[in-house]
Symmetry: C4
Subunit: 486 residues, 4 copies
């Protein structure tokens, strides 16, 4: 295997010949530039140079093997060059943002002082890099939908029952037949390595400890294999599929997933094009201004020619650039049934009509979701859709399992959804925040908190098992409670 010096690599610094160094290995990515989902510009910025620090947190480790043919794996960096790189990195002045994070990480509270998911989120907001926080927390446009997802729960009160035996109380359930300690699962949360070097594996291990199921995103920063490797043998994992526009590539992926042992396919239908997440798009500019000061308008400069070579879709855009934008009930569901025996769940149902269509298409479950408010601004909050579905088409709950995600932060939120007929609820961001701050322990702590809150709510409502919960225990109100913390 060849070995190269920094000088040699440095000569391949253009679109004509573009080499990059990732973890002391040298790759010729010239041909790949055009295919890169995130666009060629971001690669060219590192042409002829080491790109490890920006590449690592947002790509699964096997991405290079899968995307760059072996012939373009040019070999490794020559030892003294590698050494030079190491010294350079060590001497690299930390950015203000890195310094801030380093300091904040030293001042996290002990885990036993985390009482709620919002406590956890508050810690995470201090210790995440600006970029990671922007990616995790961002939502579409003015983030109204994201806020309303959570606020939707405030309009539902309990009609609590008293004088019922609750000393025994069991919050466990099944999802698609698989046991879950509480009616909660991890809803596909991507790019976990942005927040913690072990990434999604933290969630996998924590979910096992807490006895709940993880739905793994196609866009995870670890490969499906790596995540499965982190799982216990007895553990159940689901897969969140972003279907590739090319059916045979998509089929390969599905078959691989099934073979790895994933137990269900959550087909994502609400993110066929990227949402407009301004907070995410703005993030690198803010970090740059913090470091180098603001830049100003120069009439006639390239930036005046609007959208010239500009990435306006942030991280999300790159991730789904090749997804299928032309799925239909008639075509896509039968195709998926054909290539896989796994249960199929539609993730991203946003109105009653589509819930009915999904049930008629014969899927196994539907996840009412607007992608955490990250896609269509003013999509109805999932809790609202659940309520409408219960009122308008209750039969759907008998044909498919119904789940919701979006805005759930408390055990009472979970119990409300179950009252209205949800079999389980998904949480995404809270698990990303938890693993970013405390790794595996943060994840299992999150589950413990939810479990404690769910049991308390169940007992105070007067039920000892989840299937005693019913719509009569919910009273929808028409005033808006004040929630100081929201």
């Amino acid at each position: 295997m060849a070995s190269w010096t920094l000088q040699q690599v440095a000569q391949h610094n253009s679109s004509n010949s573009c080499w990059v160094i990732i973890q002391n290995k040298v790759y010729d990515v010239t041909d790949f530039l055009a295919e890169h989902p995130g666009g060629p510009e971001i690669i060219l910025k590192y042409a002829g140079r080491d790109a490890t620090s920006v590449y690592e947190p947002i790509h699964p480790p096997d991405a290079l093997d899968k995307n760059i043919p072996q012939s373009k794996h040019l070999g490794k960096l020559e030892a003294s060059s590698a050494n030079l790189l190491r010294i350079e990195k060590e001497n690299l002045r930390q950015s203000r943002d890195e310094l801030r994070v380093e300091q904040a990480r030293k001042q996290m509270p002990p885990l036993d002082r985390i009482l709620s998911l919002r406590d956890m989120e508050n810690v995470a907001k201090h210790i995440l890099s600006h970029k990671a926080l922007a990616y995790y927390s961002s939502a579409a446009d003015d983030e109204i939908t994201n806020n309303e997802n959570a606020r939707a729960f405030l309009r539902f009160f309990f009609q609590a029952r008293v004088m019922r035996p609750v000393s025994h109380c069991d919050p466990s359930t099944t999802i698609l037949g698989f046991k879950s300690s509480i009616p909660v699962f991890v809803s596909g949360a991507a790019l976990a390595k942005l927040g913690h070097p072990e990434g999604e594996a933290n969630i996998t291990r924590g979910a096992f400890k807490g006895g709940i199921i993880q739905m793994v995103s196609s866009n995870a920063s670890l490969s499906p294999n790596a995540i499965m490797d982190a799982a216990d043998q007895s553990q159940c994992l689901f897969f969140q599929l972003y279907k590739h526009r090319n059916d045979s590539i998509a089929e390969q992926r599905v078959r691989a997933i099934e073979k790895l042992g994933y137990k269900a396919i959550f087909l994502t239908v609400d993110a066929i094009v990227p949402g407009n997440r301004e907070r995410d798009i703005r993030s690198p500019w803010i970090v740059d201004e913090q470091e180098n000061g603001p830049i100003y308008y120069q009439p006639g400069s390239p930036a005046d020619f609007p959208e010239a070579g500009q990435n306006l879709f942030g991280t999300a855009g790159a991730l789904i650039a090749n997804d299928d934008r032309d799925m239909t009930w008639e075509k896509t569901i039968p195709w998926l049934r054909r290539v896989s025996d796994l249960p199929i769940i539609i993730k991203g149902i946003q109105c009653v009509e589509d819930a009915v269509l999904a049930a008629e298409a014969g899927v196994d479950g539907i996840l009412l979701s607007n992608h955490g408010g990250r896609q269509l601004e003013f999509s109805l909050p999932p809790m609202e859709v659940l309520y409408l579905l219960r009122r308008q088409r209750p039969g759907v709950f008998e044909r498919v399992e119904v789940y919701i995600d979006g805005g759930i932060r408390r055990g009472t939120d979970v119990v409300k959804a179950v009252c209205l007929g949800a079999k389980a609820v998904g949480l995404g961001r809270p698990f990303l925040y938890a693993q970013s701050a405390y790794g595996v322990d943060g994840v299992s702590k999150t589950i413990e908190i939810l479990k404690r809150e769910i049991i308390t709510a169940m007992r105070l409502i007067g039920v000892s098992t989840l299937n005693e919960l019913n719509p009569e225990m919910i009273h929808r109100i028409d005033w808006q409670p004040i929630y100081a913390k929201l």
Copy 2:
């Protein structure tokens, strides 16, 4: 009787042999550790040492006699040891919180400048220790229910009548046949000694002065006897029962209460498990940080193992650890009728359906309450339940006396509830705040303020007695008034 030195006691500082000193007496609590409702940890923290300062404010004085067998009352502290302890205490540096309280207590306004219950609360918030304020003011989860209890009253306006004679105006009523100067009673408010050394006795004496009835909590920091001792011979007291899970222990307590002269049993059904009162749980941490600075996360430290030996239910948890979680209409009401001739009132009805069940179970009254928002977050505000009950099942008001508590701060709140059919309303926190700040005078002042406000409202609505108030005088509105002070 034996006497002991501090050195001798100090040797019994583990779960194998655990002695503590309370008011210069020595107790062997080794066997009691497992039974302690608040868990063994909190006792072990003081093993081999003096525990008077933490024990006193939250236990009735007779608790030691009742819970620790005489054989474990080991005797008193030897005189020079007792002296040493006294000197130590005198030299103890006051904590920042104690200094703050001491200063604030010197700057309270004169009582005649207290115009409203909120004025009183504002004074109390300054002069209470952090811990006491946290216990009194805390509520479940995000304290939404607590806020909504008060906000519920904002949605009810009066249809005031004019040209009616009101120069004579009488706000008095009866509760279960007992006279009350205004349709208000003290709703079971526990741990009054946290705020004032005389504790619940302040409320008893103030209630007598003001001519209203006190409902005494099972969890009072004075014993039922001590409170009865503070009462006037002619005075009527009710008892708020937290039923012990062991029926015969519970029976003993009920019989004792009846014998002491309490006139009714308010059976608490909304607090069979502790609510999640984060403000209360967090309180010792905040005080500790104030004194000793923040502590930080140390990966691998015991605190990383979530919930290891941690009290997550605050003060409330300890108080109700042995309560009956399996009460039912069929079993519990007949049992209580059997062991007592007193009127039975169910405290903690939270929906119309249970109000009907209670009436059918033949109790004498129901108290619509969600425990001041301290138990189930998103339990409907009692004023809302009262409104629904009036609309949906008005017959209930003819079968049982109906009361509400939660969020009442003004005479107009009281009058609104009476318009909708409440026989009387309970207030809890306001009396705790009042006695904390001004003792007995604070309590009677609170009653005077309410009386004045009730009379003013009655006259301006055009009635001269409470039974002229009726639902037609209420206009429910569907917009939310702005209440700057809430």
Copy 3:
């Protein structure tokens, strides 16, 4: 006529013999102490001393003649004593509040920079003494009703019509047959001298300039004669009657009023007892603290004995202490018809039912009012009552003239009320603010602003006279607009 020295007067400084000096005249008020509507304490505070500065702004000049028999008018102050008093006053250190006012009065904006009634109010809030502002702006309890009076208008939008000729536009109307340049009158606003030495006369003169009618309060700080003297011969004034509990005293007053030339009686029925205006009650304490520092609670001091000799009704209480609290439709209206030929209007109707009763009682008009939110907290906003009356009992508008007051600050508010059937609307506080800041010119400016705003609104709605306005031009909405300035 006798003359007295300060020393002589000073000896009569107790309830046994109580003399006071008002404008260099000496009065023996010993016998009057018990009758004083504001209670004896406030007089005794000045026993044996000069009381001019506190007496003047809140009593009409003829009050002494009317209330103190001539035999107790003891004569004048001896010249050198009077001189001494003058020098003392001149040397009196100004209080902080007086200094603030003096400074603020020098920095008022020119009148042509006042664009709206809120501009005017903002100036007034700077230049009024703390006491005057507290009396004018205060409202009952938490001032929710006061806020809601204004907010009620926000729920009514216009269905504006276009393509209608409006180059000619006439906003004039009649009230009880008397011409008014706009459908606006001055609603009884008392104690104008608190804000300006010329008091209510400013309003009288400004109303004449602006062509509108003033309703004069029984509690004006000028006598009805003095106000009539300030009026133009052609000018129409109404009288707001607070009926004395003694029918013959009341009759005397009504006959005097009629004789003076007042043109209608507005019988006040919503203020038979004083409202709980905490801001007003608190005002002297705040001024005192500003000057002399805070005072603190002293256990055992007289202030601990709650409400001992305390004025808990502020200025309002004193003013209406002798009012009739037992008026009825059956008794009071016939009585008033008997003693006067003037039109009778009931001021303070707060619900539809009473509007109907008033119409049936044969009065000439009703003023829907909750006394500017100063009396019953949670009385419905008048605009809301007007809306309900229009929907539920439209026939009432044909039997009596209907007016509203409370919360009106813009021409659009006026036009909305007229659309729903109000013949005219009253404003109180805005005229008090205007005269306090700019005297007569402030009052006429206020009318000009309203006139301009009314005409603009009428034209943009597509009408050229008031009687083209109708309920179809109003669209009630169920969301709450944001009004940053409210």
Copy 4:
């Protein structure tokens, strides 16, 4: 041609003989004083002096030729005088506001960092002069209507559909048969030169680049010719007509417009009298105070005589002083049909009834508009009127094209309006802000942003062309979302 010295001009400084200098030319405007729509005072302030700086930004360049007869064009300024003037201007101390603007203009962000219309507005708010910002942003009274126009969109959520092919997505449409790249047009926005020296021409050029239609205001700061000159030959422009009260003057204008090639007449009916825009009226006072300090009330000074010679209608008043206030459906529409063959659209329909009348009058389109909240305070938000029209009179959409303007800031706003039946929507202020900050590029950037947002919303709702959007895709909600940025 004569030439004049500054001294000569200076002698004509009164209403008897009033000369002014505009761009080194001398005009005798004595006879014009009475006709000036903005009143004579503002001209007299510059009598005998150079008025270029205040004249320029708010008058089209041909205004002098049109309004001042050639005989009063007295000639040019003598060369040395002109030179003197130039030097004077150069040495003129910049005002604080000018300095602030100059500084802010140097610190604008690059155009590619502008992600949304609110970003653009935020830049504009920094770089506009106080006067320009006040004119652009001001609205009637308390600006409630202006806020509600935008807030109205928050009450409409989407019922998004999934599993529909959207890889192809076309947001183009036609307006009155003319192509538009997106369902958006520029709604008559006047006085663009206040924000940028090239004024409305920026919008014209940017609209061409973006493929949308500009509606040009009668009150543009460039003449209709000048704007047409800035347009591409193939470009479609509409004209917003403020009809002169004199029919033959109005006819001349219409014929001229048609001849210039404008393609439709938007007849403005909601601005026959000026709205009460306090922010605009106050603007010169604030600038003056900033420069010269506050001025105070002087009793007896001319400013005490309210409204004496005061311009209370701001810029708007001057612009429409001669407009027709007596238009009717019966008279005005037939007149306009007679004098022009162009399509007629009524701009300013504010209720369902008038939409029906307009359709019956046979016009070609209606623009639901309340003039951006600048005219009648509490006129219903256009989005609300659109919703009511769709529910109550859906037939209107088949008879005329329906547009709305007011409060639109996002692609989702546009799509919501199209769902309910709007053929297109207008935006005004956003284009003024964009051209003020970045000229032509700002305008085309604005269109690009909207296009991107519209396409994203369409795809995520599941449609690929605008005519697939329908009312079933809208879910009106009855709670108010929180919109932190509004």
